[in-house]
């Protein structure tokens, strides 16, 4: 017997469908529909150049969203990714001039450390991640401004480091390949490691995990560290593409990364979803963003569409049976 009264419309519709469809199937369906419409509306949409744009920008979004997904899987949320991206983007430009290749590991380390701080605030100080990362996100954004109050350009003598990432292989931007590598690494981690499995257990039922001897503090911190690390990678990529850093460049990624996770069908309540969902979620948003620009939809109106996508995604994935009263 299945109790459907608290499920909400979206899930009820899915429960009624004859085949066991999941929210991610809807995302794939929407990608196909949107892709077809855009291809018919504008002939340049399917050009090699445009496809590379969609995929490489999709890859950047996907990397942040993959990190975000780890935090969402354990039942949290990371609002500090924007701050980390901004901070790293300016830090990277400055460091490259000073220490050369060491800038890569230092920036990555900084992102992971910010993640660790978020994780410790959640687990040790016991402040919900929504508040904790809202706070640290603000602090890190300030740090970015302190490092450089306005956008900075790299000196041409350092361009070599940036071209390392800005370059292309076989016609595809390197950011696309970095995305593929991140996807495969994190996918393998989630699928084959005990920590990866524990992240699901914790998200699904944290009390059960705790009582079964799972190290809650360690695993939750790892999720945040992955999110911080992913944000740092994106910060480096963005700097490399722009040949410069900007202390506000990360801001839109907070909303966009959450949207990519949610639209892909990962529940905000944690414990379900996965990297494939995020892949399609990010691809869909990148397609939407690109398509709206190609077709010429007003920039201001695009934000509204993105917001609507989040509400829609949550409506479809959120399991209301656990929480009859929504706060």
């Amino acid at each position: 017997m299945k109790n459907t009264t608290h499920m909400g419309l979206g899930r009820r519709v899915f429960a009624m469908l004859p085949v066991r469809l999941q929210p991610v199937h809807l995302t794939i369906f929407m990608i196909i529909v949107l892709g077809t419409v855009l291809a018919l509306a504008n002939s340049t949409f399917l050009s090699a150049y445009n496809i590379n744009t969609i995929l490489s920008f999709g890859a950047i979004l996907m990397i942040v969203a993959l990190g975000q997904m780890f935090v969402i899987l354990i039942g949290g949320i990371d609002l500090s990714v924007g701050g980390v991206i901004s901070f790293v983007s300016v830090l990277f430009v400055l460091l490259v001039g000073e220490v050369g290749y060491f800038a890569f590991p230092i920036c990555l380390f900084a992102g992971v450390m910010f993640g660790l701080i978020n994780g410790l605030i959640l687990t040790i100080v016991k402040i919900p991640s929504f508040i904790a990362t809202l706070g640290t996100g603000g602090i890190i954004t300030s740090l970015a401004y302190l490092v450089s109050p306005r956008s900075i350009s790299a000196s041409p003598s350092d361009y070599g480091y940036f071209e390392l990432i800005d370059g292309k292989i076989l016609g595809m931007s390197n950011s696309f390949y970095i995305g593929v590598a991140t996807f495969l690494t994190l996918g393998a981690f989630l699928r084959f490691s005990i920590t990866g499995r524990n992240i699901y257990y914790i998200g699904s039922n944290i009390r059960m995990s705790w009582m079964s001897g799972t190290d809650i503090v360690r695993n939750r911190c790892i999720a945040f560290m992955i999110s911080g690390g992913c944000a740092a990678i994106v910060g480096i990529i963005i700097s490399s593409i722009r040949y410069g850093g900007d202390p506000v460049v990360g801001t839109p990624y907070v909303l966009n990364s959450i949207a990519a996770v949610v639209v892909g069908g990962t529940a905000l309540t944690g414990g379900s979803g996965g990297i494939v969902n995020v892949l399609f979620g990010a691809l869909f948003l990148s397609l939407l963003d690109n398509g709206l620009n190609v077709v010429g939809v007003d920039q201001y109106f695009q934000q509204a569409l993105l917001g609507a996508m989040i509400v829609f995604g949550v409506a479809v994935t959120f399991d209301r049976s656990k929480t009859p009263i929504i706060k």
Partner: protein, 512 residues
């Protein structure tokens, strides 16, 4: 079994042929129940007998699957707590439903402040007056503007009863019914006497359904008794002339089917001591105590709620931190207050709240079963899919879990199958001592027998177990040894070898 009925006044509430089923278990079967005007009715039954489901039907939280409810001779439906109170039925429950930071009068009139509207504003004076009047009828001399958190449990209960009465009065219900669920457990002797004094007076204008495990006070204060067992009616009888022993016999039931708990499979432990608690104590919960377990030994902790056995198990499992003493498992003393340390040392815990504490509900049968053994399912450092599947198949077969596939989510399975999954998760790990907290609660008879089979089998294999069961029969039937707790102390340790099991009546004397 026949139900005696004595004809008297027309009943206020009559429930005929009530049945209630939950997924995988039938909680009530064909219950006939009635409440007459101006009486105190004692509702008796062991844990799991169906008392709480009955009360939940009476206040409209559950709808019965079969049967009819009549109020004052009219067939009716109780659609929810608000509907029930409008029809004159309300409950006062153990947890208490008062808001501690609000004043007495705010609690009394919560959500009914409109009744005190005068010229468009709520008149505080009218509220104070009405609250004082209500408190006077309850013989309670308290300042109604003080927050509720100030007052003793007895006063809080009075306030809750007063609220139910007032609401019934507001809705014009004749002879309201108030359900009191174990009201005396939080009271001292003096408060208890006052409560009964007031109840005797209140019954002049209402009926009271009184639920308690303290049989003596039930006998002394109730007019009539209704006994439930395993979701069936046992009897309803006048309280006058009954003795505690008579009631015990009714509660426990006389039929002892020979091998219900697989006593013939009971294994007498002769191995080494694998588990010890020494001077383990937690202030306010249980006094320092010691006991030890051999490999494969089953010890049952018996005692009422508040006897300290629940906290004792929580301390052993690491979900609570003890003040004194140590836990020792086969040479290791796990750090206190850490489930992680306890699990590492080999202590397992099958919790009573299986959905909330035992399972990752949205995850698959396989994921739940393999939780503790992922280390063993690796090849070259990575979790190996084929090994995972093999392990899950092996344990689905071992525990006879009925599931469409090992990839099905646990949320859709019946309670019995969920419990088997939790058991297989622990039994397949390297657990040395397993705490089984009400392992058969809410599961049907077939699944219960399966759980008993597993307990016997793995006790023989050397896993020591600490059990707390729903009924004394089950405790007695399963255990090698029984530790009896009362008032936070161990009062006796009884041997429970198959040939000379203690009788439930002996145990009840020790417990109460």
């Amino acid at each position: 079994m026949t139900v005696q009925t004595t004809f008297g006044a027309q009943p206020v509430l009559k429930m005929i042929g009530i049945g209630k089923r939950f997924p995988g278990v039938s909680a009530l079967r064909n219950i006939d129940f009635e409440v007459r005007p101006n009486e105190i009715l004692g509702l008796l039954g062991e844990n799991g007998a169906g008392k709480s489901v009955m009360t939940k039907i009476m206040i409209g939280i559950h709808q019965p699957d079969d049967g009819e409810i009549q109020l004052n001779g009219q067939a009716t439906k109780l659609l929810g707590p608000v509907d029930a109170i409008k029809k004159g039925i309300g409950g006062v429950f153990q947890e208490g439903s008062l808001l501690p930071n609000l004043s007495v009068m705010e609690n009394l009139f919560l959500c009914h402040e409109r009744d005190f509207m005068q010229r468009g504003v709520i008149s505080r004076r009218a509220m104070v007056q009405e609250a004082r009047r209500l408190m006077a009828t309850m013989k309670l001399d308290i300042d109604v503007t003080e927050p509720v958190s100030q007052f003793a449990p007895a006063a809080k209960q009075m306030i809750e009863i007063a609220r139910v009465l007032w609401l019934a009065e507001q809705y014009g219900a004749q002879n309201p019914i108030v359900i009191l669920d174990e009201p005396t457990t939080v009271l001292n002797d003096g408060e208890r006497d006052t409560l009964f004094e007031i109840l005797q007076e209140l019954k002049q204008r209402m009926s009271i359904i009184f639920i308690s495990h303290r049989l003596q006070e039930v006998l002394e204060n109730c007019d009539r008794l209704h006994v439930l067992k395993d979701g069936d009616n046992v009897t309803q009888i006048p309280a006058a002339g009954m003795q505690v022993a008579d009631i015990e016999r009714l509660l426990v039931g006389s039929e002892f089917s020979g091998d219900r708990f697989r006593e013939t499979d009971q294994h007498t432990p002769d191995g080494d001591v694998v588990f010890k608690v020494e001077d383990l104590g937690l202030r306010g919960a249980f006094e320092p105590l010691s006991f030890e377990l051999r490999a494969g030994e089953i010890v049952s902790l018996v005692g009422l709620i508040g006897s300290g056995k629940e906290e004792l198990c929580a301390c052993i499992a690491g979900t609570k931190s003890h003040d004194t003493g140590t836990v020792w498992v086969d040479g290791v003393t796990p750090a206190k207050g850490s489930p992680q340390a306890a699990v590492r040392a080999g202590i397992g815990h099958v919790p009573v709240e299986r959905r909330e504490e035992g399972l990752a509900l949205n995850m698959s049968v396989m994921d739940n079963m393999n939780h503790l053994v992922l280390d063993r399912l690796k090849t070259a450092g990575a979790i190996h899919r084929r090994k995972e599947i093999e392990h899950a198949h092996e344990w689905v077969a071992e525990c006879l879990v009925k599931t469409p596939t090992i990839h099905a989510a646990c949320s859709g399975l019946s309670g019995g199958n969920q419990q088997k999954i939790i058991l297989s998760k622990w039994l397949s790990s390297n657990v040395k001592v397993l705490i089984l907290d009400h392992p058969t609660r809410g599961i049907d008879i077939g699944a219960k027998d399966e759980v008993y089979r597993l307990i016997r089998k793995f006790s023989k294999a050397g896993i020591a177990m600490i059990i707390m069961c729903d009924t004394l029969e089950e405790d007695t039937g399963l255990a090698n040894k029984m530790v009896v707790m009362s008032e936070r102390k161990v009062v006796d340790v009884l041997d429970a070898a198959p040939e000379h099991k203690p009788t439930p009546t002996d145990l009840i004397k020790l417990i109460v």
